[in-house]
């Protein structure tokens, strides 16, 4: 720091405290002394170059991680367990060739690897609020898109079913969730929101196959070819149909309905004169352990990677309630499936949907067949992360919790309100879908999960938790969707 710089420092000082000006000489000497006492720092040029090389290596490593994603995707499950049919064989051959080609380019081998090939969690940090608003423009759209479990059904009063006597509409109840936990303190001012990165897996394979001339059509004539999806069939008794969606980065497995073996064991009955099997009895439902064992065994057999998922939980109790509900209705429908959920785990915390259900890998088991009939939500786990402002006003969170969560349906013909207690929350993640221009983005936001004490309710009440996201942006607009008005 030269004389001029010292003067500048002093002038700044006088702006703060003019009285110091009269000590200018002393102050100058103090600063000079402080500068003289500054340790001599010698830069070790060798160290500087070594660190530079380390940084360059790390940059290459980060770049490499992007390319490994395709390879990981190809190994979400073990293809070799399936015996392919003709069409499926061609497709899978393309997939495997594509995978090997791409893998060899990058020095990785398909089909080796237990280790980690699969759907391991990875995240790339972006700047704050990098995803813009997390809300769909009309949030109600997001609600209808996610409906399916728990939501509307849980608002129909116990024991009422689908219609009232004499064509009267069913008795509709709304629920109020009263917080009975300790005082809620929210100190965190920011939360890390994750956005799932989809669709990166297709480009490598697409580049490979777009240069192929299949005889019937020359794929190279398509200038911007992109592999969107592929499906193939395991052509044998009790075989499966596998659907791979490269755009979404997801895989689902269903039974191959063409196989007579499945039709027989499931009692599929479309032909005239065909007699449907008797509905299941409660006593025929195996234990929870047995059901989970069937799911685990399927996952092991097909080499499905569950690194990102937690311990399985079965919805056996729901099946029993559903059986009890339909018994008195006289209808022909009778439930036969139990869902097993392997909850998606992020930073050791489970992910929930907005209805309070754990979200993750779903495995459906048909009890009559005692076999897995479907596997869904197996997705790549590559995320981008960004910090968002967190809600710190506990009263706002509790007010939304009292209504059962964000964007709950409002019923026009409510005949009663039932109070339920909710306990102290735990920290988890909530899955949020944002719809925009015909596409959806998947976000995971830290959230509070309030357990519902439904012990005093009889009948078909299925909601287990109230989930409130902590990202302030999502709480800005709480649309309540009118139903039945």
């Amino acid at each position: 720091m030269n004389k001029e710089k010292i003067k500048e420092v002093l002038e700044e000082l006088y702006l703060i405290d003019e009285s110091l000006r009269e000590y200018q000489v002393e102050l100058e000497k103090i600063i000079e002394k402080l500068l003289a006492a500054k340790p001599d720092v010698e830069i070790n040029e060798e160290f500087k170059q070594k660190l530079r090389r380390e940084l360059l290596a790390r940059i290459e490593e980060i770049k490499g991680q992007e390319s490994v994603k395709l390879n990981k995707f190809m190994n979400i499950f073990n293809f070799s367990k399936l015996s392919y049919g003709l069409v499926g064989g061609i497709l899978s051959l393309i997939l495997v060739i594509g995978g090997v080609y791409y893998a060899n380019q990058k020095g990785f081998l398909v089909g080796q690897p237990e280790s980690g090939l699969g759907i391991k969690f990875s995240t790339t940090a972006l700047s704050d609020e990098a995803f813009g608003s997390l809300r769909t423009e009309t949030q109600a759209g997001a609600v209808s898109g996610e409906l399916g479990t728990g939501g509307v059904g849980s608002a129909v009063a116990p024991g009422t079913g689908g219609g009232g006597p004499g064509g009267m509409p069913p008795e509709i109840a709304t629920y109020r969730y009263l917080y009975k936990g300790e005082d809620l303190v929210l100190e965190q001012t920011q939360v890390e929101v994750l956005k799932r990165v989809k669709g990166q897996a297709s480009s490598g394979i697409a580049n490979l196959i777009k240069n192929m001339n299949l005889g019937m059509v020359d794929l190279s004539s398509f200038s911007n070819a992109r592999l969107d999806s592929a499906s193939f069939i395991d052509d044998r008794d009790f075989g499966y149909a596998v659907y791979v969606n490269f755009t979404e980065g997801s895989v689902s497995i269903n039974i191959n309905y063409n196989m007579q073996s499945w039709r027989e064991v499931l009692g599929v009955c479309f032909e005239p004169g065909c007699v449907r099997p008797e509905p299941l009895k409660e006593s025929e439902i195996p234990s929870e352990e047995r059901i989970i064992e069937i799911a685990d065994s399927f996952i092991r057999e097909y080499g499905i990677n569950t690194d990102s998922y937690g311990q399985p939980e079965s919805k056996r109790a729901f099946l029993i309630k559903e059986l009890q509900r339909v018994q008195g209705t006289g209808g022909t429908y009778s439930p036969e499936s139990v869902r097993i959920i392997y909850p998606l785990m992020i930073n050791d915390r489970p992910v929930y949907d907005q209805w309070g259900n754990k979200f993750g890998l779903n495995v459906d088991i048909n009890i009559r067949a005692m076999r897995v009939t479907g596997l869904y939500n197996l997705t790549t786990q590559d995320y981008q992360s960004s910090l968002y402002q967190a809600e710190t006003d506990a009263s706002k969170i509790l007010a939304i919790a009292e209504k059962g969560g964000l964007n709950q349906p409002i019923y026009g013909r409510v005949s009663k309100t039932i109070d339920l207690e909710i306990g102290a929350p735990s920290l988890a993640y909530m899955k949020v879908l944002k719809y925009e221009q015909g596409q959806s983005d998947e976000f995971l936001t830290p959230a509070l999960v309030f357990p519902i004490d439904s012990s005093q309710i009889e009948g078909m009440y299925t909601k287990e938790n109230v989930v409130i996201p902590l990202a302030k942006d999502l709480l800005e607009e709480d649309n309540n969707t009118p139903v039945g008005r």
Partner: protein
């Protein structure tokens, strides 16, 4: 948009090839900043490595609306030093060498011992935050904006701390001692 801002923007998009430009620009500054807090070459080198690796991996988190890139980088460095003393010396409130309790065993470079002993006798009279602001302003030559962003304090507050520091030093250090010290350094 400045060249540095352009490089940062590209890095945030995942194009990290020009990160080494930032490294060249800040290596000496960050190394010195850490050295002034540790007074030990080996430790300063280790921590400098950690700072740049962390900066590379987290550059996406830097938000230009919240402050200068340099402040963000210095803040990472400061946190690394605090973590170092927390884990190695089991001291939770230490932001640098000066804050260590007297008698604490610590490695430091002997070449600077004489200078350190001299300056320590009156820097010890200052509060830790006064020492830290003084070192950043005089030794590192940082602006008040940078200091305020690194310490997460208001700029006016940092200026006030510095002016009080100078006032205190003027009152505490006898002029005679100053003259002697200055003569010794001639």
């Amino acid at each position: 948009m400045s060249a540095q801002e352009q490089i940062i923007k590209e890095c945030q998009k995942g194009n990290l090839d020009d990160f080494t430009e930032l490294y060249e620009q800040y290596f000496k500054k960050i190394y010195r900043f850490i050295y002034y807090k540790t007074h030990h070459q080996q430790t300063a080198e280790d921590l400098t490595s950690q700072v740049f690796i962390k900066t590379l991996e987290n550059i996406g988190r830097f938000n230009p609306r919240k402050g200068l890139f340099s402040s963000w980088l210095y803040r990472i460095a400061r946190n690394k030093v605090i973590d170092y003393y927390r884990t190695k010396k089991n001291e939770s409130d230490v932001t640098g060498f000066w804050d260590l309790k007297s008698g604490e065993k610590i490695d430091y470079d002997l070449e600077n011992k004489e200078k350190l002993d001299e300056v320590k006798q009156y820097l010890d009279k200052l509060k830790p935050e006064q020492r830290e602001v003084m070192v950043m302003r005089i030794w590192d030559g940082l602006s008040y904006q940078e200091i305020s962003e690194i310490l997460n304090k208001k700029e006016a507050n940092c200026k006030m701390i510095f002016s009080r520091t100078m006032k205190k030093l003027r009152e505490e250090i006898p002029l005679a001692l100053l003259i002697i010290l200055l003569i010794k350094n001639l």
